[in-house]
């Protein structure tokens, strides 16, 4: 039996899809910088924006920053907008100061924001010009993390898409290689590398790499295995360069991780027996780790507010591996193409809402009275104060949750709030 088949497949019964437009309560794409700046260790992110953008980054990063952050904001002022200052000269001055202060920077991203988009500041050409000036020491790229164009994790997509366009072309186009796409914690990357090595799959590259000197090559032999479901634009750019995406569920949970690995194993023609032998110990371990959480979560009803686009795979994991009942899956965008292997695994008739009207959604949530609400930081404490048990969703993006060894940790993120509520007697 292959791992993919281990996940019970739903008949083609349709999902109920609700599309909403109203007030959104989500981060903008700038937020991705909070994890990307730690992932790519020689990169720096310079947001060209307003005081609001700087305040967002600071508030979202909050206490999580112990070392000096590798991000900053070039805050535009009245004189930049009134045309009293040449914005390109100003930008050059700031970049010079930055590179002088941080000589360890090898890759600098100029990150666009709403104000820079609205005044049509051309950061791409600024990056190209500056790249010439600082080559070969520093490579300078641009992308937009603005809230009018990107929602939360789409900032990572925009960043990786910019990087994808810069990847070297692989030599010998037909030689097959695997590229795992999407920022992962170092510990997860190391585990996955070991598994791929044991399976005999290689060469394996990760995008983004830990250092920008290690940009992986791409070509028609490249197979893409997405570690995150929100990488629409990145996938498009890589496919444009000849790579082919392997359709797979995302590596969340014991079965999800097995199915994800199986997609690569099939493509690399790993014999079924070998695949089973390699993954069995870790998958068994992951299943054992899930058991205590399953006891706590089984039959409980969960409502997911839209946040990171991870919601459909998370719901699949919560329903399929932990026995939870899904009340509503909110997602900022329902990207059916990249979820082609996920959506069929969701329970029939699940309500999926795309977009948001936060007050209406809160009304639905209150009416449904779920056992657990997965939502953003702006909503969590107010809902707790109303008596709901919540799991704040940003942790699902900041915590290593992918792969076999993290399956138990992922389940615990959902069971702990319930356990806590059960324990407290005040």
């Amino acid at each position: 039996m292959t791992a993919a088949a281990a996940i019970a497949c739903r008949d083609a019964a349709p999902l109920a899809i609700l599309r909403e437009r109203g007030q959104r309560e989500v981060f903008c794409g700038l937020t991705g910088i909070v994890w990307l700046h730690r992932r790519i260790q020689d990169a720096f992110f310079l947001v060209v924006g307003s005081r609001t953008c700087a305040h967002l980054l600071q508030s979202a990063a909050g206490v999580m920053i112990f070392a000096e952050p590798r991000f900053a904001t070039a805050v535009m002022e009245q004189r930049d907008l009134a045309g009293l200052a040449d914005t390109h000269d100003e930008l050059e001055r700031i970049v010079a100061r930055l590179i002088e202060r941080r000589p360890d920077i090898r890759l600098l991203f100029l990150v666009g924001s709403c104000p820079s988009e609205v005044i049509k500041l051309d950061l791409a050409s600024a990056a190209a010009r500056l790249s010439v000036r600082y080559a070969p020491q520093v490579r300078i790229l641009a992308y937009s993390g603005s809230g009018i164009e990107t929602t939360f994790t789409e900032g990572e997509d925009a960043c990786l898409a910019a990087l994808a366009a810069e990847l070297p072309a692989s030599e010998g186009a037909s030689t097959r290689s695997l590229m795992v796409v999407g920022a992962l914690a170092d510990v997860v990357e190391d585990q996955l590398r070991r598994i791929f090595a044991e399976l005999g799959i290689g060469p394996v590259h990760f995008l983004p790499p830990r250092r920008c000197a290690d940009l992986p090559p791409v070509g028609s032999g490249t197979r893409l295995l997405l570690a995150q479901p929100f990488l629409n634009e990145t996938t498009r750019v890589l496919e444009g360069r000849g790579a082919r995406r392997l359709s797979a569920p995302y590596p969340l949970g014991a079965d999800g991780t097995a199915a994800w690995l199986a997609a690569a194993a099939r493509d690399f023609a790993v014999p079924a027996a070998r695949f089973e032998a390699v993954i069995r110990p870790a998958r068994e371990r992951a299943r054992r780790a899930l058991l205590p959480h399953r006891d706590r979560l089984q039959g409980r009803r969960v409502f997911l507010f839209p946040d990171s686009q991870l919601e459909p795979p998370l719901a699949r994991f919560l329903a399929g591996e932990l026995g939870m009942r899904i009340v509503e899956i909110g997602t900022p965008y329902l990207n059916t193409r990249l979820l082609d292997a996920e959506l069929p695994l969701l329970p029939a008739e699940t309500l999926v809402s795309e977009g948001q009207d936060v007050d209406r959604q809160l009304d639905r949530c209150r009416a449904a009275a779920p056992d657990l609400v997965v939502c953003g930081l702006g909503l969590a404490n107010p809902l707790e104060a109303e008596g709901f048990t919540t799991k704040w969703s940003i942790e699902l993006v900041f915590t290593p949750i992918q792969g076999f060894e993290q399956a138990g940790d992922l389940a615990e993120l959902f069971s702990r709030p319930l356990l806590r509520r059960a324990r407290l007697e005040v």
């Binding site: 109203g22 007030q23 959104r24 309560e25 989500v26 981060f27 903008c28 794409g29 700038l30 937020t31 060209v48 307003s50 005081r51 609001t52 700087a54 305040h55 967002l56 600071q58 508030s59 979202a60 909050g62 206490v63 000096e68 952050p69 900053a72 904001t73 070039a74 805050v75 535009m76 002022e77 009245q78 930049d80 907008l81 200052a85 914005t87 100003e90 930008l91 700031i94 100061r97 930055l98 709403c114 104000p115 988009e117 609205v118 005044i119 603005s146 809230g147 009018i148 164009e149 929602t151 007050d359 953003g376 930081l377 702006g378 909503l379 969590a380 404490n381 107010p382 707790e384 104060a385």
Partner: protein, 510 residues
């Protein structure tokens, strides 16, 4: 453009949110893109509010730009009014919407809403959070106090009456300061008419003119409104902010004079332990400790006075990010023989601290980062706030109890008296070296043994001198290094030897 690593203040609309969130019955419709909704978490996570800030964001997207963002705004405003049924609505734009020039005030007026609509003009590319809070409070007060009132000017029991102005949501210890100041006023027999914005409704603002005078706790937020109330209704307002023992005494006298009551009972009731704790012999080691002070203007000025007059420290630097109050801070610094540091550039503050090498930093959460890197003890005296600034226990900065809290907070991060001597005597003890740090602060001590940013110097240290310097306890090492280098530079020496080190020690010995 300005390079910004950390910001001391958010944009002005966050200031407006602080006022709206503090009040009851006010709703704020903010024309802004989706990402700006992050501001909610500042209130729900840092202040741990159990309700969402009363803010509706239009969350327009790129595809709306060519089309009709104005209509989006109108719909959002109408729906917010229907859903939340506020007593008053404030409307405005964030930085992005400001560029669209949709005129939220004009649009809202066309809707014919059943409640007062107060438009806010908060220029995001010039102003910041405190200014935004101040302007919002002022506009709300003006809008609600329009009716001519014949103020009763005394409560039913015949007591003089005042208002308390300034506390907002997300304020640095505002919650506890208000309780403390109410206690002081009660001990003087003064009644409180309205406290605003915290806890007030728009209808309460309309009653502000009924008081005899105003107590302004946070001039950054309430001075503009207080000046308008003075002009319009002849209400004087307090200038002293009661942070510290001396300032609390001054405040009592000022308030008593405004109210026409006798200050003596309240002054006699002084229950601060600070004066005695400062005199007790254990505090001898505090004498002349070099402190650097940075924060909003009110807290920085107050801290400098306490540091010098009430704890016997030496203030070596004083600064603020509140440009609107630069004059006041310059004056305070001038009295200490210092030049004030007026900046909102975190890197500039960092450079100043690196240069001064103080023994204690009294700053904001930002200076905590800096001090940690330089391994200098630090206490937080001012916003920007952090979740720790909303402690579960009462922890005011104002009044008698505030002075007790301040004594503990500032002295706590320092190495305690006798320990300081033992560290010097037994510096070879392997469990007693500097990386171990003060014994009562084990958990807070940074792990790395060297400061992340070494002070830059044009002078060469001989190996021997460097080794000897390392034997100086870490909390005065920076000062020793700095003094020695100054001494060497004054004498035109380019290399520092063991001799130079001890010559300098003798020269600067205190």
């Amino acid at each position: 453009m300005k390079l910004t690593v950390w910001t001391y203040e958010g944009p002005p609309h966050v200031g407006a949110m602080r006022v709206a969130t503090a009040m009851d019955g006010v709703h704020y419709v903010l024309h802004a893109p989706q990402g700006d909704t992050y501001a909610d978490l500042v209130f729900t996570m840092i202040e741990r509010l159990g309700k969402r800030p009363p803010v509706t964001y239009t969350t327009f997207q790129a595809r709306d730009l060519g089309a009709d963002t104005a209509n989006l705004f109108k719909t959002a405003t109408r729906e917010a009014c229907d859903r939340f049924r506020p007593d008053a609505i404030i409307v405005g734009a964030s930085c992005t919407a400001e560029l669209l020039q949709d005129d939220p005030g004009g649009l809202a007026r066309t809707l014919g809403l059943p409640v007062p609509v107060i438009p806010l003009e908060l220029p995001s590319y010039q102003r910041k959070e405190n200014w935004g809070a101040s302007e919002t409070f002022y506009q709300l007060v003006r809008a609600m106090c329009q009716a001519e009132v014949a103020p009763p000017r005394a409560d039913r029991a015949g007591r003089p009456v005042c208002n308390i102005l300034g506390p907002t949501a997300l304020g640095f210890r505002h919650r506890d300061d208000v309780a403390e100041v109410r206690g002081l006023l009660a001990s003087l027999g003064i009644a409180v008419n309205v406290t605003a914005p915290q806890g007030a409704r728009p209808t309460d603002l309309a009653r502000l003119p009924e008081a005899d005078f105003n107590v302004v706790l946070y001039p950054e937020i309430a001075a503009v409104a207080a000046r308008w109330l003075e002009r319009s209704f002849g209400q004087p307002f307090t200038r002293t902010v009661p942070i510290g023992v001396g300032a609390t005494r001054d405040f009592i006298r000022e308030v008593a004079a405004l109210a026409g009551v006798d200050p003596t009972p309240a002054l006699d009731d002084e229950h601060s332990r600070l004066p005695w704790y400062s005199r007790s012999v254990d505090s001898t080691y505090l004498t002349g400790k070099r402190v650097f002070v940075f924060g909003d203007a009110t807290h920085a000025i107050a801290a400098a006075r306490i540091a010098r007059e009430e704890l016997g420290f030496e203030v070596v630097g004083l600064g603020t990010y509140s440009r609107e109050f630069a004059r006041e801070v310059r004056e305070a610094a001038g009295q200490l023989g210092l030049e004030a540091l007026i900046t909102d550039d975190y890197l500039e503050v960092e450079a100043c601290i690196a240069d001064l090498q103080p023994e204690l930093v009294l700053g904001t959460q930002m200076e905590r980062h800096i001090a940690k890197r330089f391994r200098i003890p630090c206490a937080v005296i001012s916003a920007p706030v952090h979740v720790q600034d909303f402690p579960a226990r009462r922890s005011p900065q104002m009044g008698w109890e505030g002075s007790n809290v301040i004594f503990d907070c500032w002295v706590h991060p320092l190495t305690m008296g006798l320990e300081e001597h033992l560290l010097t005597m037994f510096r070879e003890d392997h469990e007693f070296h500097d990386a171990a740090g003060p014994s009562h602060l084990q958990s807070e001590q940074p792990r790395e043994s060297k400061p992340a940013v070494a002070p830059v110097s044009d002078l060469a240290w001989s190996g021997e001198a460097e080794t000897e310097l390392a034997k100086v306890p870490f909390f005065v090492r920076g000062k020793a290094r700095r003094n020695t280098e100054r001494f060497a530079r004054d004498r035109g020496l380019s290399v520092i030897t063991l001799e130079t080190l001890y010559d300098a020690k003798a020269h600067f010995g205190r």
